[in-house]
Amino acid sequence: MKLSSNLPRLLATAALFVSILSCSENLDSSGVCSVLCPAIGGDVKNITIDAVVVDTTVPSLSGLGTEAGLLLASRGDTLDTRVIVRFDSLPATFLPHGDTTQAITRVDSAYIQFTLDTLSIKGAEPVTIEAYDVDTTANDTSTAAVLALFRPDRFISSQTFARAQLTDTLKYFISDSAVLAKIQSRTALRIGLRATGPASSQMRLISVEGGFGPSLSFRATPDTATARVTATPFSKTPVGESILAANLTDYTVIAKAPPEAAPSILSVGGLPARRVYIRFNIPDSIIDSSTVVRATLLLNQLPNTAIDPTDTVLLLPQVVLAGTAVKDPSKAAQIIGTISVDTLRLTPGGSGIKNVELARAFTLWHTQSPDSLPRAIVLKSLTEGNTAIELRFSSSEDIAALRPRLRISYTAKVPLGLP
């Protein structure tokens, strides 16, 4: 019997085709798992423990002027904050259109341009912003010395804005003569801004640290063909401390703020900004011998109605990276790392148990001995230093039912080897 010579070719091609198809394995039998795949990892266990050994409120020591925003607020007896901007180096010359460089002998239409966070504006009434000359030889970080300069003999100018005029870009016009005097005397132009008005007002201006800092702009000639002269904030002092000087190019001064919480209460936010430092004692057996899939800090929130009780605050848990050598919680609370991109949204007026997710911290703690890295976290506000809103929580000094507790969900490690 003799068959066509095409048949073996067809068979060979078919075998080759099937072989190629089978080269990519597909072992996934998930479709029948409800019957044929018993659970392997075991159930998740949940335990709640009093694991807090230290909990305290510490100041945010990030420093004056490090905030990404400048809070200008006038809230009656509750809150009063001022904004300082330093132009310690002003241009003395300008380049007229089609001419050579000339000394500045006149200043026209001078203004400071701010970027305004319009979502932060509070108050629907017109607000008047007054400018004062706050140049002083007093200690650079002395807020009291600066506040004392907001007086009539230091008054430069004022401008009133209707609510509709408070847009993303805010041009605050100041006295031309005051600017010219500083240029000609070669002295620093340090402006202090205060908000006043018939009603409460509050706004957040973006600082240099926030990426869109203020700038000074004026015309040195009536010729509009000549470009405006601009100057960016700069601080020459403190001498020899360039980082601090850079921070002080623009900053917020607190004239009045809501009272701080009692020492037995944990508080986050407020002005000056505060954080909560919490250190845990967690059984090694849980961290070392199991897989923590979720860890939640249970905090009892206490209502704080001092200011904006219904505003939302974003609470951010961070893991402390300071080793055991750093004993002081205030200092340890500054050496922190991000463990979550998510935040907990709370209102200061809220109350009851709040859940702060900490599972990511356990990933780090699993790899580090508590002898080298304490099991500690910090709770801070995402808008730390930019708002007076403060969250309050019961501390471990409260009654047992209200103390901070840790709820850990874990799975035990499974012996994977034999079926």
Binding site: M1, K2, L3, S5, L7, P8, L11, A15, V18, S19, L21, S22, E25, N26, L27, D28, S29, S30, G31, V32, C33, S34, V35, L36, C37, A39, I40, G41, G42, V44, K45, N46, I47, I49, A51, V53, N281, P283, S285, T291, V293, R294, T296, D342, N355, E357, A359, T363, R407, S409, Y410, T411, A412, K413, V414, P415, L416, G417, L418, P419
Partner: protein, 380 residues
């Protein structure tokens, strides 16, 4: 607080984990699926000719009939479909179950070194289940992915003797070695709240066995073969730690071959495996069952294609798989069709076999598989 911590520690210690099982198919229970150590030629005859086939690894005696030095490699992908009352799954498993080198030494002796897949545990599953994580009202869907790769292989060094076509005998020394790489992932839905975890391990196996085979052809039309493999200890280790041991199953087989019809060979084989000795190598009590492996088939000279005589094979086979499902035996029935053809003036040969296997238990779980085997023998 100290007291609470102690209680927490005690609670933790009391929470014993479940043991892991392999899964996803009836044939993948326990330590895995035994491909059978048959060549594509033997598979085409339902295993009937295996004990007379030098390229199957069921007996060392058949090596004496190889004729010329040969290298043999086999590729056997399996296309499996498992059906349950709640769904079905289609999988493709690529296997190279057999590689062998055979070398005649002098007039009477033949030596061979081979490696074959003894138990293949490759599988991958994904199971979703509801879990309470944290607050009693917080229920999330946990996806548990389990992947096992690897097999236990049988590496055999065999020696066969024959000084006439009437009688052949052989002995073999076996090293059973291999590993399973296991990865278990637990995936939670929200990475901001939960941490998904992954855990992996590698289990290695080592064991020894010895085999013997006899083949007798009292006439030109009939032949008989018997063989046996005595299993020694099989140990399992995770890293440096011994985690279990068992006896390798003893294997016995008897075959008959009839060549009374010109151009046709009819064969039948019955084998028994003491798989139950592997039961101790389970951490979750998966039961292994002793079982019979019986098959028979027909091999006939077929059509001439491109000046080559193509051998056509048909076979059927029934056997008990080693590991049960829910305490029940899993039985496999298969029908096979095969072709064989010489290549390059008999210096090479190719064998193809297609098996349609059906695996069942008394429950409504059904498993069907197509196994395509391609064997290539080259005589250098």
């Amino acid at each position: 607080m100290r007291k609470t911590l102690l209680v927490a520690t005690a609670l933790f210690a009391a929470s014993l984990p479940l043991e892991g099982k392999a899964q996803g198919a009836l044939s993948l229970q326990g330590l895995g699926f035994p491909p059978g150590q048959l060549s594509a030629r033997a598979e085409g005859t339902g295993g009937g000719v295996a004990d007379f086939d030098a390229l199957s690894l069921t007996t060392p005696a058949s090596l004496a009939g190889v004729g010329a030095a040969a290298l043999f490699l086999q590729y056997s992908p399996e296309f499996r479909r498992v059906t349950t009352s709640t769904g079905s799954a289609n999988t493709t498993t690529a296997r190279f179950p057999l590689v062998e080198g055979v070398l005649p030494v002098g007039q009477s002796w033949t030596v061979a070194l081979s490696s074959s897949t003894f138990l293949d545990r490759s599988s991958e599953t994904s199971l979703s289940r509801q879990q309470n994580v944290g607050d009693p009202v917080d229920t999330v869907t946990l996806v548990e992915r389990n992947k096992v790769l690897g097999a236990i292989n049988d590496v055999r060094l065999a020696l066969a003797w024959s000084n006439s076509p009437v009688f052949r005998m052989g002995i073999g020394g076996h090293v059973f070695a291999g590993s399973n790489r296991i990865t278990l992932s637990q995936v939670f839905p929200d990475s901001a709240e939960f941490i998904s975890s992954a855990q992996s391990d590698r289990i290695s196996y080592a064991g020894f066995a010895a085999s013997i085979g006899l083949e007798w052809h009292p006439s030109r039309v009939i032949g008989f073969a018997v063989s046996g493999r005595k299993g020694g200890d099989l140990r399992a280790q995770s890293g440096d730690t011994a985690i279990g041991s068992a006896k390798l199953p003893d294997h016995y087989s008897a075959s008959v071959l009839f060549e009374g019809i010109p151009g046709t060979t009819v064969s039948f084989r019955a084998a028994h495996d003491n798989w139950s000795t592997l039961s101790t190598l389970s951490s979750s009590g998966i039961q292994a069952f002793d079982g019979w492996d019986m098959g028979g088939g027909l091999e006939a000279s077929g059509p001439r294609i491109m000046q080559r005589i193509v051998t056509v094979r048909l076979g059927a086979r029934v056997r008990t798989l080693p590991f049960g499902f829910n305490g029940e035996k899993v039985s496999e029935k298969s029908f096979a069709f095969g072709l064989g053809a010489p290549l390059t003036r008999d210096r090479a040969a190719i064998d193809l076999a297609v098996q349609r296997a059906s695996r069942t238990v008394s429950s409504d779980v059904k498993e069907r598989g197509f196994i395509l085997s391609i064997g290539l023998r080259v005589s250098p």
